[in-house]
């Protein structure tokens, strides 16, 4: 009785399936890197992979607004408004967390969702 597939066929099939599985695995488990978006006036001006930060630094997406970036976390560190609620928000270090400087229309949003789809507050 003849085999359905020869040795070469099996090698090809297994190789292609293994490759497609490798390509598919990341989308099965989602992207686990911690990426922060800086949004100014409704536009994403910068995306920062917080896991890849080697040296802490600050950036100023708008005059008077200062954002501190460290490995695995990000925050507003200075603002020109009186109440500085954005600074009081502290560090963001988990998916789905946001902080906003409303007067300057600057938002920091850590991309993705963790346990929840949205928060009510």
């Amino acid at each position: 009785m003849k085999k359905l597939f020869g040795r070469t066929d099996l090698i090809i099939i297994i190789s292609v399936l293994a490759l497609s599985l490798l390509l598919f695995i990341p989308s099965l488990f989602g992207n686990n890197s911690l990426v922060a978006q800086i949004i100014v006036d409704g536009e994403v001006t910068e995306e920062i992979d917080l896991d890849k930060i080697e040296k802490s630094y600050t950036l100023s997406p708008k005059d008077g607004t200062v954002i501190a970036v460290e490995k695995g976390r990000i925050r507003f560190s200075d603002a020109c408004c009186k109440d500085e609620l954005c600074v009081a928000s502290g560090w963001l270090s988990a998916k789905g967390q946001t902080a906003a400087c409303l007067p300057e229309r600057v938002v920091i949003a850590v991309k993705g969702t963790d346990k929840t789809d949205m928060m009510t507050y």
Partner: protein, 344 residues
């Protein structure tokens, strides 16, 4: 001869095998592509607050832009007392005189007045003079004098507001402030818009007031009153609105005493409550906003009848970290922070 035929068969089989593999890979890649194309997320600032949008369906980017426009329109043309020529600004500028407004504004005011009637006026949209005095979150936030408060309270009376079709008449010197229900009103407007868009499901947060659109179930985190970046519990819900009122959102400290922003319209002072927060689940955004404020002021026991009247459900978080959930959503709630305890 036989070898040549056998080779042809092998080649044919190889082609079939390759074709099957290629089809499989294509399906996987296509499924992933469709998934990524059908979900769209956006975060922006609208209506003076953070707006987060997650859409499931096609035309995500266009739909998100329209949602932002709808939210901004709600503020600018309808509800903000600060926006020149908005319906509320015109009503306030002509107190004592009937003012013609949009159908939408008239409906929102009617809903708010109905809640006021059913909670003995602890929630009241005629608190404009009072909220202006306290100025929570503003540059002049302070504890007003007792005289100032009693003078402002003279203008607080929901029963003085008369709505006839699309005409609104307030009492002389009265000032409306729909700040407590503006975000919920925006959710309702977005819901109407989404009915005509190519969106299957969506979850939209307008400063923490949520619209859950479509049949998809979402895990909604209720903010931990002691840490506003973490949740204390989750609710699994679909096709509804969710609003939370809490003492942690806007407050200031004067003379070592902390004053939060939820004012009892009867006393003129921040509500003296055993609660940290109340989360209300209801089909309308205006109602869920109004009810969460009213329930926070009323407290747990007095809130139950009010919630029942509007077919609404709620999660009450007490200052001592006990949690009470109404029957209709008890099985949809999961505690995620073990330092809180569900009351028996």
């Amino acid at each position: 001869m036989q070898t040549a035929e056998s080779n042809r068969k092998i080649n044919k089989k190889s082609v079939i095998a390759l074709a099957v593999c290629a089809a499989l890979v294509l399906c996987i890649v296509l499924a992933d592509f469709i998934k990524s194309r059908s979900e769209y997320s956006d975060t922006t600032i609208a209506m003076g607050t953070v707006v987060s949008i997650r859409l499931f369906g096609s035309d995500g980017e266009t739909t998100a832009t329209e949602i932002e426009n709808n939210i901004n329109e709600t503020e600018k043309t309808l509800l903000s007392w600060r926006e020149k020529n908005s319906d509320i600004e015109r009503i306030n500028a002509s107190s004592g005189v009937a003012v013609s407004v949009s159908t939408e504004t008239a409906e929102i005011i009617n809903k708010a007045l109905d809640v006021s009637r059913n909670c003995e006026g602890v929630f009241d949209i005629t608190v404009g003079k009072l909220t202006k005095l306290w100025d929570f979150g503003g540059e002049n936030q302070r504890v007003p004098t007792a005289d100032e408060i009693s003078k402002a309270l003279e203008t607080v009376s929901y029963s003085s507001v008369k709505v006839t079709d699309t005409t609104v008449l307030t009492a002389d010197n009265q000032m409306l402030d729909l700040g407590a229900i503006g975000k919920g009103a925006a959710c309702d407007r977005v819901k109407n818009y989404l009915d005509s868009a190519n969106t299957d499901s969506a979850v939209i947060s307008v400063g923490g007031s949520l619209l859950l659109y479509g049949n998809r179930s979402f895990n909604i985190g209720i903010v931990n009153p002691e840490n506003d970046k973490e949740s204390m519990g989750t609710l699994k819900l679909a096709d509804t609105c969710v609003s939370t009122s809490g003492n942690y959102e806007k407050f200031f400290t004067q003379d070592n005493k902390t004053y939060h922003h939820i004012l009892n319209a009867e006393t003129g002072y921040p509500a003296d409550s055993r609660l940290s927060s109340v989360t209300v689940v209801c089909e309308s955004g205006v109602l869920s906003d109004a009810l969460s404020t009213a329930c926070y002021i009323l407290g747990y026991h007095d809130s139950l009848a009010l919630l029942k009247r509007y077919d609404a459900e709620a999660v009450f978080v007490f200052k001592d970290k006990t949690v009470r959930i109404t029957d209709g959503i008890e099985n949809k709630f999961t505690l995620t922070d073990e330092s809180f305890v569900i009351a028996e």
